[in-house]
């Protein structure tokens, strides 16, 4: 099994991230510590990579490129592929938000890849939003604040869960 993580973000300004930044700064009292908010979509695609062979890694890379072609609109989005890992840059706190109830969009994506596009080795697809919170404070405080932001705005605990991810 291999896990293809596809990070996708807009090249154009992200209005949703701007609204979140604005709400946190102007309505929720984070103006002093919050510098910026950015957002990414994350597809985590589990594929059956078959028997262990020397060219498995290159096959998975090839598959990842094909998935990106299907799931990313190059006209407005950029992406990054990570295989069996999920790393983020320094300078922000990444917060992963996903549904803990059934995710219809993720199921549709899996079915589209498997049934419509013929990628039978796709085992599972999970979708999440990565909120990239840029704080003016240092790491321990920034991570505490990120957790608080997630609980106060980014999730509804009755359907969403979140995870503060560590950077590379």
């Amino acid at each position: 099994m291999s896990l293809i993580n596809l990070r996708v973000w807009l090249k154009i300004p992200d209005a949703e991230a701007a609204t979140v930044k604005n709400t946190l700064a102007r309505r929720m009292g984070y103006g002093d510590i919050l510098a910026d908010v950015k957002k990414e979509r994350l597809f985590s695609i589990e594929v059956d990579s078959g028997d262990v062979q020397s060219d498995v890694q290159s096959d998975v890379q090839e598959l990842a490129r094909a998935f990106a072609k299907e799931l990313v609109n190059e006209n407005k989005e950029s992406h990054k592929v990570l295989i069996d890992s999920l790393e983020f840059e320094e300078g922000y706190v990444p917060v992963k938000v996903a549904l803990h109830i059934e995710d219809g969009e993720a199921i549709s994506t899996r079915e589209r890849l498997r049934s419509r596009l013929g990628y039978q080795n796709v085992v599972d697809v999970k979708k999440a939003t990565i909120w990239k919170l840029y704080f003016r404070t240092l790491k321990p405080e920034a991570e505490i604040a990120a957790r608080e932001v997630a609980e106060r705005l980014l999730i509804n605990p009755h359907k969403d869960s979140f995870e503060v991810l560590s950077q590379s």
Partner: protein
């Protein structure tokens, strides 16, 4: 009797809602979200209409719930004034914590706003209780144990009034068991909760105001009767005091008989009131009785 019909960026049912408010004999005006929130105290009741406030960014109702006007609405709710949230208005009331209001979340969240500059000082116990009792999640239509459809759906639905007469401001003048045909149009109306015992509690305290049903009033917890997968076919809830009502269906779109669908014979009698009128008349009755 003056009603404020709230307008957020992305609200799109405010004008027909205002028509409905005025047509039952109440005075009303559209109240933009960026007006001074303190002005809300001069109104006798409030309607948060449907639409897509802030384009449903983050999730439906989440951003609007943080606006100062919603803090003022929570204060007016404490005074017992009637508040009706329709569709996106219901989602906003849930995100504000005013509905179902079991954990007095509105007051908790306003305490947080005040202490927000020292945000990291919040205790972990407080953080583990976000103060929202439920969510209106993405629609999932289930039939025969299988998911047959997901996402946005619009149709005419039948509703059964579940609470006793005078229990809730928005159904104050509606008999228990009455059936109403009203349209829905939403993508996130699926009531889910992780709060243990919440649904039982809501049933016991008669806070479930409307349920989706078939044309004979039978509750069938399957699509196409339950149109969004909502727990126990719940379509509308009120708070414990009964003055705050949130409902996914749009009563303002069934206010006049001529708004009914072509297959309904009442459509041919345009002078007759539509079933949605009862909700607005109830609100008026509630204000008259509680004035």
């Amino acid at each position: 009797m003056k009603i404020a019909v709230l307008q957020f960026p992305g609200t799109n049912c405010e004008f027909e809602t205002l028509v409905a408010v005025k047509a039952v004999g109440m005075d009303g005006e559209i109240f933009r979200w960026n007006r001074p929130a303190a002005e809300l105290s001069s109104f006798d009741g409030f309607v948060i209409p449907g639409g897509f406030s802030y384009q449903d960014r983050v999730r439906a109702g989440a951003i609007a719930a943080k606006e100062p006007v919603m803090k003022a609405i929570a204060e007016e709710a404490e005074k017992g004034k009637p508040i009706l949230g329709i569709c996106n208005g219901f989602q906003i009331l849930v995100e504000t914590g005013l509905l179902p209001g079991k954990s007095s979340s509105a007051s908790k969240s306003s305490q947080r706003e005040e202490s927000s500059s020292a945000s990291v000082m919040l205790s972990s116990a407080e953080m583990s209780r976000p103060g929202i009792d439920m969510a209106l999640a993405q629609n999932v239509m289930v039939s025969g144990g299988k998911i047959v459809r997901r996402g946005y759906y619009c149709d005419w639905v039948n509703l059964r009034h579940e609470s006793p007469i005078r229990r809730c401001s928005g159904s104050f003048a509606i008999e228990r068991g009455a059936l109403l045909k009203i349209p829905i149009a939403h993508g996130e109306g699926n009531l889910v909760t992780t709060t243990p015992g919440l649904i039982k509690q809501l049933n016991e305290s008669e806070q479930v105001v409307f349920r989706y049903c078939d044309r004979n009033g039978r509750i069938i917890n399957e699509f196409p009767y339950n149109v969004n997968g909502s727990k126990e076919s719940i379509a509308a809830l009120c708070n414990e005091q009964g003055n705050v009502l949130g409902m996914m269906p749009h009563p303002e779109r069934a206010f006049f008989a001529w708004q009914l669908p072509a297959f309904d014979s009442r459509k041919q009698r345009p002078d007759e009131p539509g079933p949605g009128r009862k909700v607005f008349k109830s609100m008026k009755c509630y204000i008259e009785v509680n004035a």
